[in-house]
Assembly symmetry: C2
């Protein structure tokens, strides 16, 4: 593991590391914010999964999360959104290939060689973090934006007991019924739609739900609203009687100006779950 940068930030340290990923068979980069409290022992962890076109860096510099994580004594992990490199398959479209891993394990060529983002986020990176940093892996929570909100919700529901709480900003909520989903699942997972259902937050909510609190914010003026399909997730939550807070925020769009506005709420929400006895 190689330290690429380290900057003091809100009393803690914002670092960026590169490591050789066995899941993705390439070098992967992630950001890690450790609050000041981590000097005295393990701290809880909040994962932030990013959206289409993002690297580890976008949320790290634009979401304003460190201010609130420092206040709560929580670490932040900012993974990349896909494998990267000249040897890794790609596509000219912004929403397929590098920068668009969709948090699945690809099974079809040319993607299957590297695009194992599910394994990377669910298994490899948590193990690496647990071995190397003062993190309390019994106290993890997860959030994300757009494609990363999809990742946060599907991981949280598929790994019961792993995350104390889950939240999302403008998540892709029903990808099996959206152009943000069908195109990528066809490419990564193939035409058999039965293979897609494990990666659809609304379907997972119908089947499994989540044993913990949920908070979702979406802007009423989100320019990608029709692709996100918050109505499918809202219906599934209501049918299941799943405890959850779903908020439509008047006038906000899909940008990090929206994300940063509600970051304090989300980190406070996760802190309550992470510090609950």
């Amino acid at each position: 593991m190689e330290l690429l940068s380290e900057n003091k930030c809100f009393g803690g340290q914002q670092a960026v590391y590169k490591h050789a990923s066995t899941s993705c068979s390439c070098d992967m980069t992630f950001g890690l914010f450790l609050p000041e409290e981590s000097r005295d022992g393990p701290v809880p962890v909040l994962w932030f999964l990013s959206g289409l076109t993002c690297t580890h860096e976008n949320a790290m510099i634009k979401a304003g999360a460190q201010a609130w994580a420092a206040e709560q004594g929580i670490a932040l992990v900012f993974p990349d959104t896909s494998p990267r490199g000249a040897a890794v398959a790609n596509d000219d479209a912004y929403d397929l290939g590098q920068g668009a891993g969709f948090y699945v394990n690809a099974t079809h060529a040319p993607w299957a060689a590297h695009f194992k983002m599910w394994d990377y986020i669910a298994t490899e990176l948590p193990e690496l973090l647990a071995e190397n940093f003062p993190l309390d892996m019994e106290r993890q929570a997860i959030t994300g934006h757009s494609m990363g909100g999809h990742g946060a919700l599907t991981l949280a529901m598929s790994l019961p007991g792993r995350f104390k709480s889950v939240s999302a900003f403008a998540p892709i909520s029903n990808p099996t019924q959206s152009d943000w989903g069908r195109k990528q699942f066809t490419a990564y997972l193939g035409d058999d739609e039965s293979k897609w259902t494990a990666h659809d937050a609304s379907l997972l909510m119908q089947e499994k739900g989540f044993d913990g609190p949920i908070l979702i914010d979406t802007g009423s003026d989100d320019q990608f609203y029709d692709l996100l399909k918050p109505e499918a997730f809202a219906e599934a939550v209501a049918k299941r009687r799943q405890p959850a807070t779903l908020r439509l925020q008047r006038g906000y769009d899909h940008s990090y100006f929206f994300v940063s506005t509600f970051m304090e709420d989300h980190i406070t929400f996760h802190a309550e779950a992470l510090y609950a006895e």
Copy 2:
């Protein structure tokens, strides 16, 4: 004036505008955050001047300022750091030409045709803002980072009565004695060093001081510490008995991770001055 983008942010609006600048004889772009309170009438204004290589955008997306400006009901202006465009003189170095206006009026070729950042910030942009937005121009304050901290301090001391308060993050404090200054002043203002003194915060502090509160933060691990020369400004402040708070922050560097960490302090500081009776 053309609206390039508008995003709801912390209850207000973060907009970006382009306009034909008469000072700089080219199109100029600036960011403007208007808090929710601006719907009901004019609000105070805090200028944020950015550093070398920055456009209007860096601080707007990385400094985390809108959170605190919204809390205080204060507007934020993010000007660009130089004229721009194919017709505008430039240099291969990152610290001369486009992105490095140094907040002076250039008098020497090839810079004099466009590089009039002093007039732009001191006169043209304030007039444009006053005409077009609900801003209380009797309540202005100014801050900046690095080269922008230099700009904030020199403008504040040279325009008595204009700004209620001035602050800076890692300002270039003694440019007539620094490689961040001598090179640019030679290019923009010529070899006659007597023309430079009006643009050196430490010399201005000796001569004029500032009729209001001053707050300066610099990181003890700033990688450009030797170029900033905070010791010259500190000496001038002490000799003058100028009321000011100069803070060296242990372990912080020159990055926006440093700036964002102390942004709440700076905006709270300016709010006290802007709302004082």
